[in-house]
């Protein structure tokens, strides 16, 4: 290793596990979600209905990854404020320093790295805001998704008790009004949000690769090894 570079730890093991759990969950959620919205492959007619269970398995997979999202979101929301490693929320508060850095990062991207006047050692304000947007989109997906889910628990019963549908009604019924009044609006919005998230992901991957190539600080390694490397000043 070039001795001019120092190693900077940027992501904890927990953080990286959550990142990849989310990435895999998202791929599964999109594949199964598109099937639930509009079943795009057919099953063999020769089998009895009871043997196939294709839609049911798709919904099962969709709900399982939704639960993984649920749990990791709670963990991430907690770490956002209380992590001992990095207090991410401090980077999204619109202080003068953060706003200046936010603009500098955009200028860096727009000038194709010809101007780079900010410290890229630690998570910058632009990426922090960008990640926050992602988590808000994800939270919105969870709330609308749980609202769609609880509408099928109209008996008020569930295998884990009555508290579960009750809690879901309390916490997600408002999404109906926000989306436009009916359960169908919630469904439409849930589907739109998927496209926003996919678009988010596309830029996210591009931007991390771009940083790696042009900054030459091995940013892409953060999510695998947890560290990046910056020049000793």
């Amino acid at each position: 290793m070039n001795s001019e570079y120092k190693q900077v730890k940027r992501m904890t093991t927990t953080g990286r596990i959550i990142h990849w759990a989310n990435a895999i969950s998202m791929v599964v959620a999109i594949i199964t979600g598109l099937y639930i919205g509009h079943p795009y492959y057919q099953t063999f007619i020769a089998d009895g209905a009871v043997d196939k269970y294709v839609m049911a398995w798709n919904r099962w997979g969709h709900f399982i990854v939704a639960i993984i999202f649920d749990v990791t979101s709670v963990v991430i929301a907690y770490l956002f404020f209380f992590s001992r490693f990095e207090k991410a929320y401090k980077k999204v508060i619109p202080t003068g320093k953060n706003i200046a850095q936010f603009i500098e990062v955009i200028i860096n991207l727009a000038t194709l790295n010809r101007r780079k006047k900010f410290d890229s050692t630690h998570s910058d304000s632009f990426n922090s805001v960008y990640f926050l947007i992602f988590h808000l989109l994800l939270a919105w997906m969870l709330l609308t998704g749980l609202q769609l889910y609880v509408s099928g628990l109209e008996s008020g019963l569930s295998s884990i008790g009555k508290w579960w549908p009750w809690m879901l009604h309390i916490s997600t019924d408002w999404t109906r009004g926000v989306c436009g009044g009916t359960i169908m609006d919630v469904r439409i919005v849930h589907h739109y949000t998927m496209w926003y998230i996919i678009t988010w992901v596309v830029f996210h991957i591009y931007y991390q690769v771009w940083r790696t190539i042009f900054w030459k600080e091995a940013d892409i390694a953060i999510v695998f090894g947890g560290s990046k490397f910056v020049k000793e000043k």
């Binding site: 269970y53 194709l112 008020g156 009044g181 359960i183 169908m184 439409i188 042009f214």
Partner: protein, 410 residues
């Protein structure tokens, strides 16, 4: 009377989505006594017409056994234990003590038609025949000033006691001038407000009266709204669907005659006994849904084998109604039973948001960007393409003119 009002208020302020099917023995014993008292009061009162229920049943070839089957089914539908069956039977006979005024506003009269045009009147229709229909704009012989006089008399005689059935939406555009009625040219809105003022309760029947229905579909030229948007401070029940199922109308009237109260309602003021369940969960084709067996096009092998209609746009998974349980026309059949999907007619905004007869993901709807209608996926792919083009331009520009920090390399 005051505790009755309190009871109605309580019903209308409880908005839980839960359907409580068993409220415990003491509740039912108490209710049983209340119903008995109520029925004996009704029996003592003067019937509003001389129609004889058992005579009508005989005339229509319905024997006692059929009637008792109907009584059991109705008792179960109202979520009452079997011991209430005799009371339900008695209430059916006493239906001619329930004065009803029926207003016909902006709609196709489909709900009245649903009652009238059955090939042979079944018990539900007969029960609705003998309710004391004091005034029905579509059915009555009277017209003009004569009709108005009849309405005034009915309101005066049954002040605070009659049930007001409303069919059709209320046009609010142009000061309500899109719909006027009677010799004096009263607008639908004023007409409804005047009559509802003295009603014991208002029962909005059909998709139009409940949520505006087809008249309120985009672009809603007449500014149509449902009854609950204009009538305030009155007990109100919504019985949506296009048309509303006579079974559910009977259920509500029966509940009122029996207990003097309106049934328990959900947050859209629909009786829970009818609208507490999703069509999807009691659908006879549900197994095919879970299996992934769908009708791909009309008349294909799947259609011949009663496969699920989800891909043909069935909205059963998002629609709350009891069609899949009670069906229509005395349980003869219902939309999914005849091989076409549910169009969600008992949900708000059904014409714009449910009835496009293809899966939601394939439906052309207004995109968030406005303009031409497209499917959600078309919009999403457009968004993704735009992002891809932007990224492509940036990537090429970076490759050509970007500056790499070459500090790490020799």
């Amino acid at each position: 009377m005051s505790d009755r009002i309190e009871g109605v208020k309580k019903l209308f302020t409880s908005k839980s989505a839960r359907v409580e099917t068993n409220k415990g023995e003491s509740y039912y014993l108490d209710l049983f006594e209340k119903c008995q008292t109520r029925l004996s009061e009704l029996r003592a009162s003067q019937p509003a017409n001389r129609l004889d229920f058992s005579g009508l049943l005989n005339d229509n070839g319905i024997d006692r056994r059929d009637f008792m089957k109907w009584v059991s089914a109705t008792t179960a539908m109202l979520m009452l234990p079997p011991m209430f069956s005799p009371l339900v039977a008695e209430a059916a006979e006493l239906m001619n003590r329930a004065p009803v005024i029926w207003l016909e506003l902006q709609d196709c009269a489909g709900n009245s038609e649903a009652l009238l045009r059955s090939d042979g009147p079944k018990i539900d229709e007969i029960v609705l025949d003998i309710i004391s229909l004091e005034y029905h704009e579509t059915l009555q012989a009277a017209s003009g000033f004569q009709a108005e006089k009849q309405l005034d008399e009915a309101i005066e005689t049954f002040k605070g006691k009659f049930l007001l059935f409303v069919e059709g939406s209320i046009p609010m555009g142009m000061n309500g001038q899109y719909g006027t009625i009677g010799a004096s040219g009263e607008t639908f809105h004023d007409h409804l407000m005047r009559v509802s003022k003295d009603a014991a309760a208002v029962i909005a029947v059909g998709a139009c009266a409940t949520f505006g229905g087809i008249p309120a579909a985009a672009p809603n030229p007449t500014g149509a709204v449902g009854v609950m948007d204009v009538v305030k401070g009155k007990p109100l029940v919504n019985i949506p669907a296009c048309p509303a199922n006579p079974v559910n109308m009977v259920g509500v009237v029966m509940h009122y005659v029996l207990t003097g109260q309106l049934p328990e309602l959900d947050s859209l003021l629909r009786p829970k006994f009818a609208f507490g369940y999703r069509i999807h969960d009691n659908c006879e084709r549900r197994a095919h849904f879970d299996a992934g067996e769908y009708v791909e096009e009309w008349g294909d092998e799947g259609a011949k084998n009663n496969f699920c209609l989800y891909k043909m746009g069935c909205k059963g998974p998002m629609t709350f109604n009891n069609c899949s349980i009670v069906r229509y026309n005395e349980a003869v059949n219902w939309p999914i039973g005849v091989g076409r999907g549910c169009i969600g007619c008992s949900e708000p905004d059904f014409w714009d948001k449910y009835a496009y007869e293809r899966p939601m993901a394939n439906a052309k709807i207004k995109a968030p960007t406005g303009g031409v209608e497209k499917t959600v996926d078309e919009f999403g792919l457009g968004l993704l393409t735009a992002a891809g083009i932007g990224i492509g331009i940036h990537a090429i520009a970076s490759a050509v003119g970007g500056k790499k920090d070459d500090g790490g390399e020799a």
